[in-house]
Symmetry: D2
Subunit: 138 residues, 4 copies
């Protein structure tokens, strides 16, 4: 992993839901995060395509992390999602989904982020935006 | 289960993602669907709350089913999500999440739906809306 | 007008954009607001239908007011829209659009609202949701 | 104006709502559209800022046009908005709002678009996305 070499997704204090789906963080920097998820049978809807909730989960996570990067694992920044919108652009090809997100605005109390999911050949298969509120007094 | 007694979520031709999370359909009628999901450890974010993607998955599924009810299992109606918006209203209490959704408009080619997630004591913890496109010539 | 008999839309210190479109407030209570807008030529798109921005303006306003009712005109509560989603359900009939909105959650710092626009014969022609942040220390 | 030199906003068969606000099209190409709107008193909310509906109107229009460019004025492509999401990132400075939008996906029947509004000094003050349906048999 790039970024600070930290992995807030894995481990006992990580994100259980992402571990349950099989996702892992592959980049994390100031205002940016990237997650990857191998496409496997347990992610599918009844049409044999990744469930819409899979893209939503990846985008919600990547956007949330994009606004919460910091260098001190002992004092993690945490955020709550206020709202999330996902647009489903195309059906994916290949064996992996890559979610990338950017913090696009906000301040001490809340932030905005945009994100997208691309498939293995680089096609944007979903895009999204969200508004998040920092936890605590931040 | 109420409705027509059919369960499009369970079984080998069901919705793998919902099975993977532990959700099941508990009602399905014309223009309405209800899903239930026990709150368990694998659904959590790093704050110990259900991940935002859990609500999105439930709402996407319930809204999609709300527009696809029919009485002929041999010819299922299927829909693709075009867009999904989820608002995160409150933190849930209790041991189960209940997602309900209603078809609110549309025609032969696409439909609109609204949905909400309530917790065990009846509080609305998330709401959402979506636009869906019917598959095939429908 | 019902509610407290106050009209925060009209007058010199009102909402210039709503006045410019021709809208007026027709109800305002705790957690609820209603606006009405006569359908006139200046609201149309190039297809002769009310512009999508008209519904968005009405919903944004009605939802914002729904979270800002108070009884003291000398100390108005004000809110900023963080995000707004509008679903366009149907084409309107008749000569007036009626927007209604409800505060659905939140706390001291931000709130959620849902809204809808109905036409003269009572059909829901648009629905929406939004997240808003109170101004100042509220 | 760049693009094909056509102006589908102005004139008797243009977009009355945009004319009423004072907006004009400043670029139109395949999969892209740009509108500009001088900031004037009639656009304001009761806080003296451009009303949220102003950004929504600009984004809805620019995104709709981005998916409807063609070279034959006698046979305009038209689209209906299915859904629109707007994020309000910052307060604008200067005397003009510039809305830009890109078609990001879709096919013959519907399309997706993203857009943003920047102020006079280039700050992104709003972003948005939408799903649109082509009119007629398109």
């Amino acid at each position: 992993m790039n970024g600070a070499g930290r992995d807030p997704v894995g481990g006992d204090d990580g994100v259980a839901m992402l571990q349950h789906l099989g996702a892992r963080m592959t980049d994390w920097r100031e205002d940016f995060a990237q997650l990857q998820l191998p496409v496997r049978a347990h992610l599918m809807n009844r049409q044999g395509l990744p469930h819409g909730g899979v893209y939503a989960t990846l985008l919600d996570s990547a956007m949330g992390f994009a606004g919460c990067f910091d260098n001190d694992p002992a004092r993690p920044r945490l955020a709550l999602t206020l709202t999330l919108t996902v647009n489903y652009l195309a059906q994916p090809r290949g064996t992996v989904l890559i979610a990338e997100a950017w913090r696009t605005g906000g301040g001490r109390r809340s932030f905005f982020a945009d994100g997208r999911v691309v498939d293995e050949i680089g096609t944007s298969v979903a895009s999204g935006s969200g508004v998040f509120r920092y936890r605590g007094d931040a």
